[in-house]
Amino acid sequence: MSKYKEIRSRRETYSVLIVEDEPMARQRLAAALTQHPHFTLSAVVGTCAEARAALAVALPRVLLVDLGLPDGDGIELIREVAERGQEVDVMVITVFGDEKHVLAALKAGATGYLLKDSTSHDIAEAVLQLINGGSPISPSIARYLLKRFHQEGPPKPVEVGVKVLTEREREVLSLIVKGFSYKEIASLLTMSARTVPSHIKNIYRKLAVHSRSEAVFEAVHSGLVRFDK
């Protein structure tokens, strides 16, 4: 409840773009967000094309996107938005919250995920937390991240700005893997409760940046992309 107080004092409202093809789910999401005073709906669309059109007009603060869209892949949309470089938090909507789908979205540039059947309260809570710098995570995603960043050896000279996990981030991830809650982790590692989710968000950012530059590098090398803009 204190979180809400903080935000209210800041008097900020955040614009949200919802991309969800199923009408009932779309309605539910829209309702959940409009109920809270800190969110305004920038647009509520059902297809990629509509989403792109909306994005061309204005960039929202938060993008809520479903992966299974009728005229395209949500992942592509996420990537386009993330590449814009401006501050847009992308949250992907998933039914299962399973590792495969979430990771694909994270690699594309998403910084959070949302379970489709979350309650209205949880939806708003999750989006707010995302804006405040925290991201949700599950033990299996944390394990994947540990493995993924562990595989990288010394930074390759080609990729500039490649990041590895800090010691703290690694500790946080390993405790998440064991199933500890944010609060428990904060007390175990003697850090404030708010730091834990922000660590997660940073880790997600590293995952996305890493993937993107890697993808670009490979694309350039295989001749798919030419720098003639």
Partner: protein
């Protein structure tokens, strides 16, 4: 091969004919003088006897003692007068093309050379020309006298068969040529035959199936040993033994050759061969009782047997050639054996004294040719056998490979079947769980939807259904081999519900070692146990704190090391046995994954403890 062997036969025959005609009979007219008019005296003297002895007889060269003095052997002297118009300027020499057995030459009373030992065993120069240089100053203008001491046995065709005197440069070529043909060539043939014999012998040692190789090797070695008679001069043993071995050796060689030929044609005639062997033994025994002066005569009778053997060989080969439609190898061999046999007969007749003994022994020149042909044929036979076995090997290898490929294909099919079966089993498992878990939820939800008044519960049921589905999917994660991650996922899914029910987690998990065989199946069972436990707590326990801990531990004294998972609550305990079926289900699941489930409950709370072994028990 056929053309090659025919060529060899022709070439050799040509060379042979050339040799024979060239050296067969001595040429009479040349600058060197051929002296034929001689005086002869039989005396044991070692120095030229005096001229005026009355025993001097007049003779003519070639002088065959078998005719001029039958039955008489010993030490003899020849005296020859040589008239020279002037003292020769160049070096002169005395050349004795043929003699038997040993000679010494004196010019004008001065000894100029001899052919070896005059005492027993006498040096054998019967097949060896002798050549002596006349030292300068020995020859006089006008009358010169030559004395030649000759020693021979009786009845062995001893005597002096030629005498030439002349300039060294012209005479020497004749001598060299004769020496080559009679001595060097025979030595070369012997070495060559030994080499071929050793080669064939080696082949036989490696390939015992065909005895032809062995027999031929023995025959050739025997012949090689026998051929020493033609050029060995100084004997290691007594003349009698040497002569005996020469005669018996010839018969033995004939028999060996006949057996080799039989084997070559693939025939075995044990009785006939036994007879031939007996004949050779008989020859040996009989001849051993004969004195040297009668030996040749007796041996000649036995050589009839050798001639007969030769005839038998020829007949055999002719019959085989006809049978095999005159195929190359057999024909060539037949020709070789025929030539050899004819020459053998020639030698026999020669030894009988048919000609005036100015012919040579010829058979031993034909043998090397025969051996070469034999060796060639046998080697190509061997090579062919090798090739056949190689081809057979290749065929075998090919078949093995074929079978191997068939087997591999069979295995692949088997593996595919196994894979499909494994997938089918897994699919069935998942379907069963979905049916029991999710299916059950949805059916309840449906029932509630029909009674549309109970909407909040519908929501709960549906939410629970979704959580359940997520749990199942989590369990299917193929990378999930960690109990702690699984528990973490469960907490993430369930925490909401627990908080809603006023419960709070005390998360006391510790790292545990990896559990063997922890796959989707085991994970799902554990999940269901945990889920059931949590559900019970939420529904019945009226508790505040749920403690979850894991660790390594034993489950009693007789249990090996394992991992435990404990869920404690501080509720009111299980009062009634209404949980019976649920608990039974949990225990069943624990058993399915090889572990145990212990439940303790009192008024202060309940403790559910799942224990899994660290060692896979079959």
């Amino acid at each position: 091969m056929r053309y090659g062997s025919r060529f060899v036969v022709c070439a050799y025959t040509f060379a042979f004919v050339l040799t024979v005609t060239r050296g067969g009979a001595e040429r009479a007219e040349m600058t060197p003088l051929t002296l034929t008019s001689v005086w002869f005296l039989l005396a044991e003297d070692e120095a030229p006897p005096a001229d005026d002895l009355p025993q001097w007889q007049q003779r003519r060269l070639p002088d065959n003692w078998n005719e001029s003095q039958p039955g008489v052997g010993g030490n003899g002297w020849y005296r020859v007068d040589l008239e020279l118009p002037q003292i020769p300027e160049r070096l002169w020499a005395v050349y004795l093309p043929r003699l038997r057995m040993n000679a010494a030459v004196f010019v004008n009373g001065v000894f100029i050379g001899d052919g070896g030992r005059f005492s027993e065993p006498i040096a054998r120069n019967w097949n060896r020309p002798l050549y002596f240089h006349i030292p300068a100053g020995l020859l006089r203008q006008g009358h010169n006298q030559l004395h030649i001491r000759l020693r021979a046995y009786a009845n062995v065709y001893g005597g002096l068969y030629g005498l030439r005197v002349g300039p060294d440069d012209t005479l020497q070529t004749e001598y060299r040529w004769m020496a080559f043909l009679k001595t060097d060539l025979n030595q070369a043939f012997m070495v060559m035959t030994i080499v071929m014999a050793l080669f064939l012998g080696t082949l036989w040692l490696r390939w015992r199936t065909d005895s032809t190789y062995g027999w031929m090797a023995v025959t050739m070695l025997f012949w090689a040993a026998n051929s020493m008679h033609f050029f060995v001069r100084d004997l290691p043993l007594s003349t009698w033994w040497w002569e005996w071995s020469a005669q018996v050796g010839t018969d033995c060689f004939a028999v060996l050759l006949a057996i080799s030929v039989s084997r070559f044609l693939g025939l075995r005639r044990p009785r006939l061969e036994g007879l031939m062997a007996a004949y050779v033994v008989l020859t040996g025994i009989v001849l051993s009782q004969v004195e040297l002066d009668r030996m040749l005569a007796v041996a000649n009778m036995f050589h009839l047997g050798a001639v007969a053997t030769g005839g038998y060989m020829v007949a055999l080969l002719l019959w085989a050639s006809w049978q095999r439609q005159f195929c190359g190898d057999t024909v060539v061999l037949t020709v070789g054996v025929v030539v050899q046999s004819c020459l053998g007969v020639h030698d026999w007749l020669l030894q009988l004294g048919l000609w005036q003994h100015d012919h040579w022994y010829l058979m031993h020149y034909a043998s090397p040719l025969l051996f070469m042909v034999f060796t060639w044929v046998l080697t190509s036979r061997f090579v062919q056998a090798l090739r056949q076995s190689e081809a057979l090997n290749r065929e075998l290898e090919r078949r093995v490979e074929e079978k191997h490929r068939e087997l591999e294909a069979g295995y692949r099919q088997l593996r595919e079947l196994e894979q499909r079966q494994a997938v089918a089993i897994e699919r069935e498992r998942i379907m069963r769980d979905l049916h029991d878990g999710l299916g059950g939820h949805l059916v309840s939800a449906l029932a509630m939807a029909e009674k549309s008044t109970r909407v909040p519960d519908l929501e709960r049921i549906l939410r629970e259904a979704l959580d359940d589905l997520r749990l199942v999917i989590d369990s299917l994660d193929s990378e999930n081999d960690d109990l702690l991650v699984l528990l973490g996922m469960v907490r993430a899914r369930i925490e909401h519900r627990m908080t809603h029910a006023g419960l709070h987690f005390d998360w006391q998990v510790q790292d545990v070692p990896p559990i063997p065989g922890f796959g989707p199946e085991m994970a799902l069972h554990v999940l269901r146990i945990v889920q059931e436990t949590f559900t019970n707590i939420v529904k019945h326990a009226h508790a505040r704190t749920v403690t979850v801990c894991t660790g390594e531990g034993q489950n009693g004294d007789d249990h090996p090391a394992g991992v435990y998972l404990e869920i404690r609550d501080d509720g009111q305990g299980m009062r009634n046995s209404s949980h019976g079926r649920g608990l039974e289900n949990m225990r069943y699941r624990a058993r399915q994954i090889g572990g145990t489930l212990a439940i303790a409950s009192d008024t202060h709370g309940t403790q559910v403890r799942l224990w899994l072994p660290l060692q896979r028990v079959a």
